[in-house]
C-alpha cells in the first residue's frame, strides 16, 4: 500500500494550462474558480459571525454588550480590556480543573474508540448470528436520553463503591472510573456506527490478498484496517474528545462539582453569579475552554489527507 501524493487542490487551472489552445474552457474554469472562492468565503464568513461576536465581546468592558453591538467596538475609540480573561484565568480552581478535564476526557476518549474499533471490525467484516440486528440496535441506542440512565447507573456505581469521594486502591477517586465507564457506554453507539461504516467500504481484495498471505484477523485489523481508517479514527477521536470535554451534566452526576474532581466546564460555569451576574465572563471562558479541543483538532487535521488509499484500489 503506497501513499500517493495528494492531488493538488487547484486542479482545473493546472490542467487548463496544459491545454492552452482551449481558451473558452480556461475562461470558464477561471470563472468557476472565482465562484468557488466566493462561495467558500461567503459560507465561512456567515459561519463565524457568532464566534466573532463572542470573541470581540470577550475583550470588551463588562456591561458594554448590553448597550452597543460588538461590531461598534471595531471602530475608534478602541476600548478593549482583558478584564474578562483576567477573571477567568484568575479563577482559583482553574488549574486543577484543567487537569481534571484531562483526567476525565483522555481515558473517556481512548477507551470507547478502541472498543468501538474492535466491534466495528467485527460488524463490518465478520459474519455471525444476529449481526445486522445487533448493529441496528446499537445505532438505535443513540436515541437513549442520557438523563434516564443517571439514576439506575449512579445507583449501580454507589453499590459498587464507584461513587465520587471513594478512593480506589492506588488512591484514585472512584468517581473518575465511574465517569470513564459511563462515557464509554454513552459514546460507543456513535463510535461503532461511524467506524463500521468506514471499515465496511474498505476494498474487499485487500482482505482477500491478506488472507492468502496467511494473515489472521488480528494482523489484518492492526496492519490494514486501522492504518487505512485513520481519517475516520481521527474524526471519531475529535468528537468523542469534544463531547466529553464540553460535558457538564454527566460530570456533575458521576464525579460531582467539588474542586478536587470538577472539570473545566463546572469551574467556568461557576464564575457567573447564581442569578447570572457577570455573564460576560462566559465570553472569555468559552475561548479558554476552546483552546484544548482546537489543539486536538489541529493536531489531528493532518490525518485528513487524500490518497492514503490511493494505489491500493482498483478503479
Amino acid at each position: 500500500m503506497s501513499v500517493a501524493t495528494a492531488a493538488p487542490p487547484t486542479t482545473p487551472p493546472v490542467r487548463s494550462a496544459a491545454e492552452k489552445a482551449r481558451w473558452s474552457q480556461r475562461i470558464s474554469a477561471r470563472v468557476s474558480s472565482a465562484g468557488l472562492n466566493v462561495a467558500v468565503v461567503a459560507l465561512t464568513l456567515a459561519w463565524i459571525v457568532p464566534t466573532l461576536g463572542l470573541l470581540i465581546n470577550s475583550f470588551r468592558q463588562g456591561g458594554a454588550f448590553n448597550t452597543s453591538g460588538w461590531w461598534t467596538a471595531l471602530a475608534p475609540p478602541y476600548a478593549f480590556t482583558l478584564d474578562s480573561y483576567r477573571a477567568v484565568l484568575g479563577a482559583s480552581d482553574l488549574a486543577p480543573s484543567f487537569f481534571n478535564s484531562f483526567m476525565i476526557t483522555i481515558p473517556a476518549t481512548l477507551i470507547p474508540t478502541a472498543i468501538a474499533a474492535f466491534a466495528a471490525y467485527a460488524f463490518a467484516w465478520m459474519k455471525f448470528w444476529g449481526r445486522n440486528w445487533i448493529f441496528l440496535a446499537l445505532v438505535g441506542l443513540l436515541a437513549v436520553p442520557l438523563q434516564l440512565t443517571f439514576i439506575p447507573l449512579l445507583t449501580l456505581a454507589v453499590k459498587l463503591g464507584l461513587n465520587s469521594g471513594n478512593t480506589l486502591p492506588g488512591g484514585l477517586n472512584a468517581g473518575f472510573l465511574a465517569i470513564w465507564i459511563a462515557h464509554t457506554g454513552y459514546g460507543l453507539p456513535f463510535a461503532i456506527y461511524l467506524l463500521a461504516n468506514f471499515f465496511r467500504v474498505l476494498p474487499t481484495d485487500l482482505f482477500e490478498s491478506a488472507e492468502i498471505d496467511g494473515a489472521g484477523p488480528v494482523t489484518v485489523f492492526f496492519r490494514l484496517v486501522l492504518p487505512l481508517s485513520v481519517p475516520a479514527l481521527a474524526s471519531l477521536v475529535i468528537f468523542q474528545f469534544l463531547w466529553v470535554w464540553n460535558d457538564l451534566l454527566v460530570a456533575l452526576i458521576y464525579v460531582g462539582g467539588t474542586p478536587e474532581v470538577a472539570p473545566l466546564t463546572v469551574t467556568l460555569t461557576n464564575l457567573v453569579g447564581s442569578l447570572g451576574q457577570h455573564r460576560e465572563y462566559l465570553t472569555a471562558a468559552a475561548f479558554v475552554s476552546m483552546v484544548v479541543p482546537l489543539i486536538v483538532f489541529f493536531s489531528l487535521q493532518r490525518y485528513f489527507v487524500r490518497g492514503i488509499l490511493a494505489g491500493s484500489v482498483k478503479g
Binding site: 461598534t72 481512548l110 474492535f118 465507564i181 462566559l282 487535521q301
Partner: protein
Amino acid sequence: MDGSLGLIARMPVLQVDWGTLVSVNLPTLLFVVVGVPLALVGYIVGADVLVRQLPKRSQPSVRPWVWVGPAIIFVGVILVYPMVGTIVRSLFDRHGSTFVGLGNFTRLLTDGGILIVLRNNLLWLILYPGLVLLFGLLLAVLADRVRYEKTVKTLIFMPLAISFVAMAIIWQFVYYYKDPSEPQTGIVNAVLVNIFHGQPITWIQDTRFNNFALILIGVWGATGFAMVILSAALKGIPAELLEAARVDGANEITIFRRVILPLMMPTIVVVGTTMVIFALKAFDVVYVMTAGNYNTDILARRMYDELYSAGNNANASTLAVILLLAVVPVLIFNLRQFRAVEERR
C-alpha cells in the same frame, strides 16, 4: 497554591489538594493512557490466541463475539439496562405500582399541548438534518478545492468546540432585541434596522420565527461535525477516480453527481441518521434559550421537565420510549443501505 499563575489563593479550607492531583491522578492518567491501549491490544491478541486453540470449524462462530464482546458488555450495562427499566416504567402509573399498559402513551399523545410539541419535533426532524447535511456537504466538497481548506475547516469547526455553557450569550449577540428607540446589540436586528430600515424582531420569542431561529442555532453548531466526517469520506475517494473522470471530459458537477456522491452515500447516511437522532433528542438549545415557552417545546425537553420538575417517572419514561420508537424507520433505512453496500462488494 496556583502560584504559577500568580493568583490570589482563596480561603484555605477550599484549597485544592495538589498532592493528590500530582501524586495520584497524574500517575493514574499516565497509567491509563499507556495501560488501556495495552490492555485492549493484549485482550484482542490473547483472545485470538485462545480462539485459535478451538477446533478450526468453530473458530469463525466464536471469533466475532470476542471482537464485539467488550462493546456489548459496556452498552448492555450503560444503555440497555437503564432502558429496560424505562420501558417497564412507561407501562406503569407514576407511582410505579399499577400496570396501565399503553395508558401513558394514549394520555400523553392526546394531551392538548402535545400537538405543538410534535409539530416542533417534526420541524427539527426535517430542517436540522437537512440543513446540517446540506451545509456540511457543501463545505466539505467546496473547501476540498481551495488552498485555504484548513483555515475554512477550522473556522467551521469552532462552534463545536464552544461549550454549550456559552450558548445563550453567543446568541444574544446575534438575536438580541432592543427597543427600536435604542441601538440594536444583536447583529441580525442591527442589519434589519440599519440596512433594511425594518422593525427589530424578537427572534427567540416571536412565534413566527423562533423555531427557525432555534433550529439555526443547532445547525450552526452541528455543521462542523458533518463537515469533518464527510470530508474524511471525501478524502477516502481515490484521486485517480476523479482524475480519470476529468480526463474523460466530465465537468465538475457531473463528477460530483456520478462519482463523489455515490461513493460518499454510506457516510451521508451515517451523518444523516446521526443528525435525525440528534434532532429527536434535541434538548440543549430549547432548554437554554426558551425553556419550551413561546411554542418552542420539544419532546426531549418535556421529558426533562417530567423527570426533574414533575418527578413523573412514568411520563418521562413514556416520552423516552416514544423517542426510541421514532428512530425505528431510520434504522430500517440503514439496514437496507448497508445491505446494499455489502452486495456491491
